[in-house]
Symmetry: C2
Subunit: 441 residues, 2 copies
Amino acid sequence: MTPPHLAGPLLTDLYEITMAAGYWAHDVQDRATFSVFARNPDQKRNYFVAAGLETVLQELEAYRFSREDISYLQSLKLFDPKFMEALQKIKFTGEVQALPEGTLFFPDEPILEISAPIVEAQLIETLVLNTLGIATLIATKASRCTHAAAGRPLVDFALRRTHGRDAGNQVARSTYIAGFSATSNVQAGQRYGIPVAGTMAHAFVTAFDSELDAFRAYAATFPDNTIFLIDTYDTLAGARNAATIALEMQTSGHKSLGVRLDSGDMLELSRDVRRILDEAGLPEMKIYASSSFDEFKITETIQSGAPIDAFGVGTRVGVSADAPYLDIVYKLVRLGNRNIRKLSPGKVTLAGEKQIFRRLDSRGMYGEDIITCREETLADAKPLLEPVMAKGQKTKPTVLLTDIRKNVEKNLARLDQRYKNIRRHEAFPVRISAKLDAMQK
Amino acid sequence: MTPPHLAGPLLTDLYEITMAAGYWAHDVQDRATFSVFARNPDQKRNYFVAAGLETVLQELEAYRFSREDISYLQSLKLFDPKFMEALQKIKFTGEVQALPEGTLFFPDEPILEISAPIVEAQLIETLVLNTLGIATLIATKASRCTHAAAGRPLVDFALRRTHGRDAGNQVARSTYIAGFSATSNVQAGQRYGIPVAGTMAHAFVTAFDSELDAFRAYAATFPDNTIFLIDTYDTLAGARNAATIALEMQTSGHKSLGVRLDSGDMLELSRDVRRILDEAGLPEMKIYASSSFDEFKITETIQSGAPIDAFGVGTRVGVSADAPYLDIVYKLVRLGNRNIRKLSPGKVTLAGEKQIFRRLDSRGMYGEDIITCREETLADAKPLLEPVMAKGQKTKPTVLLTDIRKNVEKNLARLDQRYKNIRRHEAFPVRISAKLDAMQK
């Protein structure tokens, strides 16, 4: 049985199963290698942050068709009963080479290469793409926000607008990897150990007779975790009410963490609110802001000089609104002893099993990538794809999320500023080795 | 325990739980009504198709915090142990009024109104928004495609690029409601009884020594379900190979369903392929097309005169690429005997419990909507919000997906063409009754 947090083998396009049936019926059993990579047709991203590998490996280790799965497939009246018997016994027995989660990568570079008997390797295509796609899409988008925020904490507020529940949990995980401090999503907190955050919404404020009553009630219940939402009626009056209650809290030895702005002109309001809090003798109270923030609005807001200390980041990041999907593909590159290319217009694939080498420049920054044949070695460059699964079993322990997060930070420090520009396309230099190029003829 | 296909109460923003704790601590127990509606800030949609209600009702019926949920919340060291005891006992005991799935609705109209003791009604906010949001987003996007296709069958191919697995299943369900014929997603087929479809990818073609061998192998395995993918090497040569195998199939009493184009100039290729098939005496073979289709590309392709019979529709619809989120909100509109408004700039809410009446014009088409107070009646118009849950239990049987699908079709037939324009914003007339307006002062 598939464990409840995994999707299992029926999360697939039907054609993976019909193709597998075709291979099986014609005794095509060769070892196949499929390569996963992302195209960048709109040039909206200068780099990507790899994420989602851990879930892929868990899915592959647990890959089994249940009795219910098989009887559903039988009900379609498409498949040879003998193929159904074979499918019921199938496990994933292959090898996986992959970029560790948190690796920065560039368009057309292999993120993952899977080698297995072609039936197995074909069956898992959709599951692999779906899993890596959302995780990498959001880790990439979120890392742009982290860069834009220049050290100010960011909190994931996206859950209410993500594309369903799995997306909500993946967004929390991927934004955390990319440097966010916390998530509002409690299930993601439970599942992944990510810090959770959040205080009050407008409903809470309107549920009491006055804003002052609502603030006082909240502070009494959470004396060490209060952020006042101050824009329900009038933001400046709200700031004064927040100051009043914060001063009351001091008399019992507690402190308010700050206030949150959720609408209006962020520059003007944050300046006025800062002045109100400072004049009340509360310079340590922070100003949090939410409402349609993404890397673009964060940049503008900071550049305007708005005294905002931290951002709640929701919808636009949780759906990667400016680029809402990753153009990720899974292509057959080798079968048996044959390297394979696809030639459809605009969709050419690099044949053969590959490796990526990353060369540092004289400053220790990322200088260039060279995509090579799998077996090549380059003396002065680091190979990026690592063996992570053999004979269907993970070969490395699960990496802690906090360690992935540190790696992303370290990796981004080695990427030149010009590739972090959120508005201008800058292609990182990626070239192909002479040997790999020769293989394409 | 939460059933495996449901998300359960921890799929929530933390602040729903802290607010609930605040209400509980201050003995705020009044009956609250929250209203769910969608804004349309970018005016990219002229109408929406309601979807997702069935899952919301299932979540509410099953709403229980498990022992594990409570111990996770305790580990946060935020909550009073007595509140944790209360939370462990909580069920949803409220009422729900909702638009049946498949109802067309317009910006700012209530989709759902939930009435319950405020602690319960607050706790479920995020879960309700997340569930309705993705389902309605995609049903709306897909219905634009159905309209554009003008009777040609559409198949959902989005699974590999949806935002995770739950999104994949919701996309299959919502596109089916909106008139798609089938999905490639096998899990959605199993779960919802939606027809599944799909044949081969480029990998299958390249896995054999020649395209002809690949086509022949596939036809042997699925003699009654073969669509040849013809663009792996050269589309026109592919069409000729498909014709060759289709003629071979005839000698054993079978027929190919057709061919699929997945790249290149759709007009030019489909015309040439049509001619090749017709000249081979295979006029009944259909031309399927995939590759970046959405309502815009479908419209252009059909207008160009391309002889395409059916479309595979993937990524752009599965993420609603031109409008990738629904600006859906959950607002407190009544507490005890008090109607409640929120006044934040740009985010004003209509106070009070409401109803929507839809009036037909002289042609029997949708003429206008009137949002009224809940208790108002209008003699010549139909109320749209229906009671669907009382005391935490569903009050109506689950509607068959095929019936929802028929209702969408019937509803769309009553919507004037001008609101179905996919490029021009046209606001359907929605007004507010005098009584509801008076309540806003």
